[in-house]
């Protein structure tokens, strides 16, 4: 006998100093905040309190994007398409939802964020990324 079960677990994620700055910038100014490591020069996105590459804790917030380049994507049937996006001026990639139809989504294509009208300080204040018209990979 197989029993189906389920539960939902509500919780509040504490974003921390750097995470809070990142989310507040999205919410208040539609800016995407990275953090530049003064030790190794890497720009981490979203902004973090320390550098994951060199371990340095001396970072300065700076804007990245808002446009970027699609690195890779995947489709989750019933849930949409997700991509790794390297934002201009940032290192690494941001995982987010892709809003443009599949044929336009090839690695290297240029993307821009679409912000939600009502923003609450949440990564979903960006609804997703869409292909910049006229962009070719």
């Amino acid at each position: 006998m197989i029993r189906e079960g389920g539960m939902s677990i509500p919780f509040r994620f504490a974003a921390g100093e750097a995470g809070s700055a990142f989310l507040a910038a999205l919410r208040d100014d539609r800016r995407i905040l990275g953090a530049r490591c003064r030790g190794c020069g890497r720009v981490v996105v979203p902004a973090r309190a320390f550098c994951g590459r060199c371990g340095g804790a001396d970072l300065a917030f700076e804007d990245v994007g808002p446009e970027g380049t699609l690195i890779a994507w995947t489709q989750r049937p019933g849930h949409g398409v997700f991509g790794l996006i390297r934002l201009d001026g940032g290192d690494g990639a941001l995982l987010h939802r892709l809003l443009s139809p599949l044929p336009a989504l090839v690695a290297g294509v240029r993307l821009r964020p679409r912000f939600a009208a009502e923003r609450r300080g949440d990564i979903r204040d960006i609804e997703g990324f869409e292909v910049v018209n006229g962009s070719d990979a």
Partner: protein
Amino acid sequence: MSEHLTVPIEMALTWRYASGSAMERFAAGLRERRIAALRCDGCGRRYLPPRPLCGNCRLPLAEWVPVADEGALEAWTVMHLPILDGRTGEPREAPYGMGLIRLDGADTTVNHYLDERDPERLAIGMRVRAVWRGDLRGAMDDILHFEVLR
């Protein structure tokens, strides 16, 4: 930086639980308001809920014995934190009573809700009786809670 944000997140977990043959037979009995335990041939211990092996003797268990839907309270507590109810996946309204109940005919206890939440009116050894759901489904929560008999 002064503002500290928290992000509300709801994590949905779903699963498929393979109950095994002993639990399957036990659950089928519940649908007819029958409670049965498995008795160990070696030490005589009667397990409720049933399990395939005796924890004392490591012998496979096969002998089913009837158990009443009444028993004695072995331990109790009053919960004030509305933690998730594993049976529904929703928080249960606090405060509520919980007990370890040894049903007549079993040697182990089951953990279940009580209809009493006043600590002044709960005591170890109290007699309790199962309150059954109207539409029995063949699941552990066919017993809604236990009422204290006074």
